[in-house]
Amino acid sequence: MKIKSILKISSLMLFVLFSFVQTASAQKGKKKADKQTIAWRYELEAVATGVKGTYQIKTWTYSINVETAIEQAKKNAVHGIIFKGFPNNGRVQGQKPIARNASVYDENADFFKDFFKSGGGDYMKFVTLANNGQIAAGDRIKISKKEYKIGVVISVNVAELRKELESRGIIKGLSDGF
């Protein structure tokens, strides 16, 4: 009886500990991925010409687990379209960044902190995962013992994103000043 109860308690404790470790690791993964977004450690690749007002791109994100990478890829895609742009891929046309210079981030640090907030930032309004977020076999590359480089295809509504940033006064519109 005594042994049974000890076993019960210890397995319960193990379960709690395991979930705690998993949550902490996911949190750590997210935090690390967030840091890498800000440090611009991701790559964008043109996939196809999107429908009117959208870009279809592949975001290569670095993460210790796939789930974090998929979520982070959305953020990286929006971040990249605003600040980085992406080059031509074969005959698919690359695009210049929406922001005219990188200092836009520092000048509006508070805005972007909220905009890119994990789990509920406004950036979510402008992204859609293509192929239901399915990742092709060749797009999951193990680059070290603990890290993957994962390519996720994402569609970004650039027209709306640009309008949002213009209306908030973060970037200038084409007809501003006229």
Binding site: K52, N88, G90, R91, Q93, K172, G173, L174, G177, F178
Partner: protein, 331 residues
């Protein structure tokens, strides 16, 4: 009751201050003159697609694009222009539609020909120059061309969009490239894809041009000419130090252009040509800011020359937002 009155008076104060603030803002921040933009099919495209007309210019056969025919016969052209117009309007920059501009010019011309004064029966006056100027024009021309490449059963579109400043003849924006080859897609789909993939890059380079304009002034061309019957010329000396008129005009340009930026491209006793003249976007009058254009800028020089000690009667003519000529020695 007192409380109600207090509330009313405070509301009145708020409304009044809002009105005052609005007036101050409206007067304080004037808007610069917006350039007009129009999509025009390139000469190469018109020639390749058979939309040219030929006329005899004193023995030499000259080919010019027949835009009217192109708009009437080519549905692809309309589709591409319509797509570009739509995307530009979404960016807050609606374009002038060339097809409509041509129609308006034709109807204006017919109306002018029929119009006569009720009292004297005379028609509206029109000089040969007025006639010459009656063409569809814009400050920036988006010159469009595309070619269809066929390799076996595959088709692709090479697309080229150039933003040309009508006055300085400079290319201020560009987007060009060849799309993915396709077995199945119709030409209309390939063209739409080409517009979608190039328009943002075109606008990015156009934005760079506008930013440069706001930072360093609008780039224009000013010409100085003299009438044949004027007894003086640009080498006539004025003042105690016998300064030549051309030098006086150059000094004025130096003082009135943004960061003294202008080039004296040509200068003789009869004419002067100033290129890359950077004029400010605004000027001040009665402590208010107004948008500046080449006409206004040239008028300032014109007034300067009319005043003592020069007393030169002159005439200013302009071409859109970016080119002006001052004729010295009469109106």
């Amino acid at each position: 009751m007192d409380f109600k009155n207090l509330k009313r008076s405070s509301m009145k104060k708020i409304i009044l201050s809002l009105v005052v603030i609005t007036v101050i803002i409206t007067n304080g921040f004037s808007q610069a003159k917006k350039p007009t933009i129009m999509v025009v099919p390139s000469d190469v495209w018109c020639n390749q697609n058979g939309y040219m007309m030929e006329f005899d210019n004193q023995g030499t056969a000259v080919k010019i694009p027949n835009y009217k025919k192109a708009f009437q016969e080519n549905a692809d052209l309309l589709q591409v222009i319509s797509a570009i117009n739509g995307l530009m309007a979404e960016r807050g920059f609606p374009l002038k539609n060339m097809e409509s501009a041509i129609k308006t010019l034709e109807s204006n011309s017919a109306e002018d020909a029929m119009m006569s004064s009720k009292e004297s029966g005379m028609g509206a006056s029109e000089s040969p120059v007025d006639k010459l100027k009656a063409v569809a024009k814009a400050d920036i021309i988006m010159q469009l061309s595309w070619t269809i490449n066929t390799v076996g059963p595959k088709k692709s579109v090479t697309f080229n969009l150039q933003g040309l400043d009508s006055y300085t003849d400079k290319q201020v924006a560009t987007a060009t490239g060849t799309g993915d080859p396709s077995f199945t897609a119709e030409l209309a789909v390939l063209l739409e894809e080409a517009v979608l993939s190039h328009i943002d890059n075109f606008n990015a380079s156009l934005m760079t041009h506008f930013e440069d304009m706001f930072a360093n002034g609008r780039e224009v061309i000013i010409r100085i000419k003299k009438w044949d019957d004027w007894e003086e010329d640009l080498e006539t000396e004025y003042g105690d130090d016998d300064t030549e008129l051309s030098e006086i005009i150059e000094d004025w340009m130096m003082e009135n252009t943004v960061q003294s930026r202008y080039n004296t491209t040509d200068a003789t006793e009869n004419m002067m040509l100033f290129e890359q003249v950077r004029i400010p976007m605004f000027y001040e009058k009665n402590e208010k800011q107004y948008p500046m254009d080449t006409r206004r800028f040239a008028k300032l020089l014109s007034k300067f020359l009319k005043k003592e000690p020069y007393l030169i009667v002159n005439k200013v003519t302009t071409k859109g937002l970016g080119r002006a000529t001052i004729y010295l020695g009469g109106k």
